[in-house]
């Protein structure tokens, strides 16, 4: 029963809860048991709610018994990326500098998830301040890919993706600044969506790069992503960059999925030799499948995408260097006092020295430099110009096609340590995902199969014009249906069984 519960999709679990076939307490308990059993090996969670999650679930069960109107995901457990602040729950953003800090407020997406009756299970691991593509930059140790525990689960949201792939949670919240939702989805055989910039409130999301960050769903199938998207999207008066207009239902787009007549543009620049053979192979098979079912495949060029990474690695560090200035020990988080005391400046300095990891320091230095007088125009200014050119590439492309497609990332999951010594090769992981963040357009990654050469999951990415997120759910749901018919079920059914890894089961709340 317990194993059956954790393998249900969020939509299916929600339906069973609504039908009274199972209680939220049972469903929550099943997931907590699973976390206890496998998270010692996976390390997806930095904090587990434990009995508090059970209490919340019991409250939803009571509401349901009393006949309260509840949404489709009410009573369904959810994992939350540690980048989102959660009232009464630790929120570290994967950094030592926030160790022990308990926020006094909830991020807006967390509030919405709670209002939808979902049960927060805990906080998931991530690269420190969302800087990375492997979770190896987490101050609390890496998360392991459930497909192969010696490999990375992607990043920065490796914890959320792994928790979902390991059946520790039916779905999760992630954040995507340059691919932190989509690239982990790609390497863990899960679904991840970066909504249009401004679709989901950033209020309470510990900022990495304000003009690039976006919160989105991490799930095992497209319908679950759509249901969660519908819960978290919408205008928030606390976020000035949040879009005021109402959104159509993404779940509805999934239910009506139909690709006949859909024009899909293949981005020439992201379909090159630089991508692993198996990644390209599964990508093209997916395109053929879509074409067979009525979609039209068109090759398009986005000539400025090759400069996107360079621009991104100026804009992101610039914004991050300013966003991370608040971590100074004065009001919250870690405080390190030099031996024998010190001035406030020395305390700030010692705290930041001890509290930030090397990747964070690297980017703060890069960003500070890029914004400095005399360098601003050459670096930050030029990067903003490239950003405009990337946006124009998208505008030109979407004048001809409905959605764009590419492999989500160049390779399948790599091994721990493989790219740590070479930041640029790590940065290149996000070559296909970064352009969407620069332009503010939405993107989805869903499984397209296993690479024949290594048997590891591969994802396909679709991109749509800003505010046309529903197109992603349409094409994603259609492709998922076609692929699962070929596979005879979800790709994750082929993942190795983790139940043999109950070796170092971790303690609740003390991870």
């Amino acid at each position: 029963m317990s194993d059956e519960l954790i393998r249900l999709s969020a939509a299916a679990l929600g339906a069973k809860l609504a039908a009274g076939e199972v209680s939220s307490v049972e469903a929550t308990r099943a997931h907590l048991d699973r976390i206890a059993a496998v998270d010692g090996a996976v390390h997806a969670f930095l904090h587990v709610e434990g009995e508090r999650a059970i209490e919340t679930a019991a409250e939803i069960d009571r509401q349901r018994a009393a006949g309260a109107p509840l949404g489709p995901l009410a009573g369904v457990p959810i994992a939350i990326k540690d980048v989102l602040v959660t009232k009464g729950m630790p929120s570290t953003s994967g950094s030592r500098i926030l160790e022990g800090w308990i926020p006094p407020y909830d991020a807006t997406p967390v509030t919405k998830v709670r209002e939808a009756g979902m049960i927060p299970l805990g906080k998931t691991n991530m690269d420190e301040f969302a800087m990375g593509s492997s979770t190896e930059h987490s101050a609390y140790g890496p998360t392991h890919n459930p497909w192969d525990l010696d490999r990375i689960p992607g990043g920065s949201g490796g914890g959320s993706a792994a928790s979902v792939a390991a059946f520790e949670a039916p779905l999760a919240l992630g954040s995507d600044t340059g691919g932190s939702i989509r690239q982990p989805a790609h390497v863990t055989g899960t679904v991840g969506v970066k909504p249009t910039y401004g679709a989901v409130s950033r209020y309470g999301s510990i900022a990495l790069a304000s003009s690039l960050d976006q919160i989105g769903p991490v799930t095992r199938n497209v319908l679950d992503a759509a249901l969660l998207h519908d819960v978290i999207a919408g205008h928030d008066p606390l976020d000035s960059t949040s879009i005021p207009e109402a959104w159509p239902s993404m779940a509805e787009a999934v239910r009506r999925a139909d690709v006949s007549g859909l024009r899909i543009g293949v981005i020439k620049e992201l379909d090159s030799d630089g991508f692993q053979a198996g990644v390209r192979q599964r990508f093209h098979e997916s395109l053929e499948l879509l074409e067979k079912n009525g979609a039209e495949i068109v090759e398009i060029s986005a000539p400025h995408f090759e400069y996107a990474i360079a621009a991104y690695y100026l804009i992101l560090p610039a914004e991050a260097s300013s966003n991370l200035a608040k971590f100074d020990s004065v009001r919250f988080g870690l405080r390190v006092t030099p031996e024998g005391g010190g001035t406030v400046e020395q305390v700030m300095s010692a705290t930041r020295e001890a509290g930030f990891g090397p990747e964070v320091k690297r980017r703060i230095i890069l960003g500070t430099y890029a914004l400095s007088a005399g360098y601003y125009d050459a670096y930050y200014g030029s990067a903003q110009k490239v950003r405009t050119l990337v946006q124009r590439d998208f505008d030109a492309a979407f004048a001809n096609v409905d959605v764009l497609a590419s492999p989500t990332a160049p390779t399948t999951a790599f091994k721990f340590g493989e790219k740590l010594a070479d930041p640029v090769s790590m940065y290149l992981n996000d070559i296909a995902t970064i352009p969407a963040n620069l332009a503010g357009v939405p993107g989805i990654s869903l499984p397209s199969g296993l690479a024949p050469e290594d048997g590891l999951p591969v994802g396909i990415q679709f991109l749509a014009p800003a505010r046309e997120d529903a197109r992603l759910y349409n094409v994603g749901a259609a492709l998922e249906q076609l692929l699962e018919a070929q596979w005879g079920g979800p790709l994750l059914a082929q993942a190795p069984d983790l139940s043999t890894h109950e070796l170092t089961a971790t303690e609740e709340g003390a991870l």
Binding site: V85, P104, Y203, V330, M348
Partner: protein, 504 residues
């Protein structure tokens, strides 16, 4: 602190031409702060709150918090820009000014940099001596205030040498408009007075707009004065200093005067001026060196990505323009003519900063002469004695009521002063004080006649003199009667009656 060597002011003016530039920070009195829903301590209803009680996650810069622009603050800023004769930018942007300081919760200040909301204006300033200046305004931009540090331990109250410091974030995020002038030339010997008059004019403007409490002692209005000197005949501007912490109008004048004298002494002695921030010390009347400041200070400004550009509609700007009050200079000319004051009388009122109070008092029914007499006389004296603002002592309505009680003969001037003390002591309105203290003039002739007859009877020699036509002798009788009536009589009426009874 050692007082720097100063050159005689007139001598300094002979050798050098002073050039000043003024930056005035105005705290807006919106209900909430610039970027958060926290109550605004620069609004008088929240003034004096306990430390760190007017705060939200945004004021503390907690991780994840985001700013949202206060629409009222934008409207107030546009109105101020218009009142300063500025252009209003169809689109302006916020920027981050990055620097680490513990009173700055995010370690960056949200300000406006290359795209201020208002620019290119001018304001007419009238000096106490009647000279009128046009001060060019470069820009007025919106920003947020920082928190307040209290340094504990150490002798100076400064951060250097302090044992520890306390931070109050109530002020963090208070909406500010910073008004920056272009360099002001031609002030010559009037330069210190011009600086003071400029700040007074800004105060008049923001008060007439109702957008700030404008109390300098509370920091609602703060002035930084840039001063430089150039030798007579030299084109190139001299090196400037920026004097901060100048928190009264009188200090603005004194600080500018001091800097002119100090810089002149250095330059004449062959020295050079260090470009630096200087602090004004009210107690010693001197400035002292702060941190060196250079144009290369690198705040790493960049557009604030958490906020959209501010794009006020043309309709809104037109609406705010139509609602602008009379410019202070125009208003002063109108009031002077309406009230029929001489130049001297009007300067007297204007220089005491009491125009608003006077206008309200006249509006409440007092004659302009009576209103002027009370405000610049007894009330100013009492305010001075207790070191508070006259406007804080008593309301214009009460002053008007008091003046009317005198006009109607209910009170003598002497009685009215006692009533005023009662009103200031919080005993109620003037009429209530009159009733409670029984201070009204005895207007019952019967009671007066009885007292007069008694006084005349007890001073037969005086009576004889009066009857002889020596009318001035009546003074002794009048004095006795007033004493008997405990002052509650109209002396003029008593005199009339004394002369009448003496002939009876």
């Amino acid at each position: 602190m050692a007082r720097a060597e100063l050159m005689d002011f007139d001598k300094a003016l002979e050798l050098f031409e002073p050039v000043i530039g003024l930056e005035v920070h105005v705290e807006l009195n919106t209900t909430t702060k610039m970027f958060s829903s926290a109550p605004n301590p620069a609004n008088s209803q929240f003034h004096g709150a306990e430390p760190n009680t007017l705060i939200t996650p945004v004021c503390l810069g907690l991780p994840g918090s985001l700013p949202v622009v206060n629409g009222d603050a934008v409207k107030y800023s546009i109105s101020l820009g218009l009142a300063l004769g500025c252009e209003i930018a169809p689109s302006s942007r916020f920027a981050r000014k990055n620097y680490f300081y513990p009173d700055l919760a995010k370690n960056y200040q949200i300000s406006q940099y290359d795209e201020p909301i208002a620019f290119d204006g001018e304001v007419e300033v009238e000096l106490e001596n009647g000279r009128v200046f046009t001060v060019p305004i470069e820009r007025a931009h919106m920003e947020e205030d920082a928190g307040k540090l209290t340094h504990v331990g150490g002798s100076t109250g400064r951060i250097q040498g302090a044992e520890y410091s306390l931070v109050d974030y109530n002020r963090a995020g208070v909406p500010l408009v910073e008004i920056v002038t272009r360099p002001i030339f031609g002030g010559e010997a009037d330069t210190p007075a011009l600086a003071k008059a400029y700040v007074a004019t800004i105060r008049d403007i923001v008060l007439s707009l109702g957008i700030s409490e404008a109390r300098m002692e509370r920091g609602n209005l703060r002035c930084d004065a840039n001063v430089s000197l150039r030798p007579r005949g030299q084109e190139k501007l001299g090196t400037r200093t920026e004097t901060k912490n100048v928190n009264s109008m009188r200090s603005v004048e004194r600080a500018v005067r001091y800097e002119i004298q100090r810089q002149a002494a250095i330059l004449a002695g062959g020295g050079t001026i260090t470009q630096e921030t200087r602090h004004w010390h009210e107690d010693t009347g001197a400035t002292s060196a702060g941190r060196p400041k250079s144009d290369a200070d690198d705040y790493r400004y960049f557009p604030e990505p958490d906020l959209l550009p501010v794009v006020p509609s043309k309709e809104l700007v037109d609406e705010l323009r139509a609602a602008l009050p009379e410019p202070p200079a125009v208003r002063r000319r109108r009031l002077k003519s309406d009230w029929g004051f001489t130049d001297l009388e009007f300067q007297d009122v204007a220089n005491s900063g009491l125009l608003i109070e006077l206008e309200a008092t006249v509006k409440a029914g007092a004659t302009p002469a009576a209103a002027r007499k009370w405000w610049t006389g007894e009330i100013a004296r009492l305010a001075n004695a207790s070191d508070v603002d006259a406007s804080d002592l008593v309301s214009p309505e009460h002053v008007a009521e008091l003046a009317q009680l005198v006009d109607s003969g209910t009170l003598t001037d002497r009685l009215a002063r006692q009533v005023l003390e009662g009103v200031i002591a919080g005993e109620g309105s003037p009429q209530q004080v009159v009733d409670a203290r029984g201070l009204a003039v005895v207007s019952d002739d019967g009671a007066l006649i009885a007292a007069i007859d008694e006084a005349l009877a007890s001073q037969p020699d005086v009576l004889a003199k009066i009857r002889d036509g020596k009318v001035q002798a009546a003074g002794a009788v009048i004095g006795a009667v007033m004493k008997a009536m405990q002052g509650k009589a109209d002396a003029a009426r008593v005199r009339e009656l004394v002369l009448e009874r003496a002939q009876a």
